[in-house]
Symmetry: C2
Subunit: 134 residues, 2 copies
């Protein structure tokens, strides 16, 4: 794990919240939705089924923890999870809080409109609220 | 599991391929993409983290098997997986074969345009090719 290399675009588009057992938990810099990604710290993996069984179990556990924290903090209607990777191939799992009437509701958030970056205060507040619940 | 009730919209929009250990594997009736859903046969579950740990492990295993079968059959560029549930709340996991230049590439397939139903022959051929690889 010492030489894990995070994809440059994922790095540029998100803030590091916490390093969990397997994944980096990162906040996407788009204030339209509370939108996190979990990036397993493994090189050359683009599909979840390429992870070892142990890593898959860790990923599931970390997704659960993230989703539960997000529900507690945001009181959202629905969690959306997804691994697409059509643009950035490095495996990253999206965990997003959705609410009825949000910008893309009930459609998916990926590829929708243009990101609206957080101000520093907004990102920090959400990141610390989530980190506290983990 | 005897009294599992499949959501009516999921039932209407898809064909049953196989009943696995936990899930019904179903083919979405949209020929634009090889698009399957896995529906855990559990009532009143809308989020993956509401499943028991054993059921989560089964779901992961069945997603792996489905994704690998889909890759072998379609030779696709990328697998997309996702659990959204903004419209139908009953938990269902999408497993979709994506190819560069397909109708929605590189965006998500959910909510994109209008479904193009299979002819009976096309659906049967894909379903049996996948079933053979499971």
């Amino acid at each position: 794990m010492g030489d894990f290399k995070l994809n440059e675009r994922l790095e540029a588009d998100s803030h590091l919240v916490s390093i969990l057992g397997l994944c980096q938990l990162r906040l996407l810099n788009d204030s339209r939705w509370p939108w996190f990604i979990l990036v397993p710290q493994r090189n050359d993996i683009s599909e979840t089924h390429q992870l070892t069984p142990l890593d898959q179990t860790l990923l599931t556990f970390e997704m659960n923890e993230t989703a539960r924290a997000l529900q507690r903090v945001t009181q959202c209607t629905k969690i959306n999870i997804g691994a697409l990777g059509n643009i950035v191939r490095q495996l990253h799992m999206h965990v997003i809080a959705r609410n009825e009437g949000d910008a893309a509701w009930p459609g998916p958030v990926w590829g929708f409109g243009k990101a609206e970056p957080y101000d520093t205060k907004g990102a920090k507040a959400l990141m610390s609220a989530i980190a506290k619940e983990l």
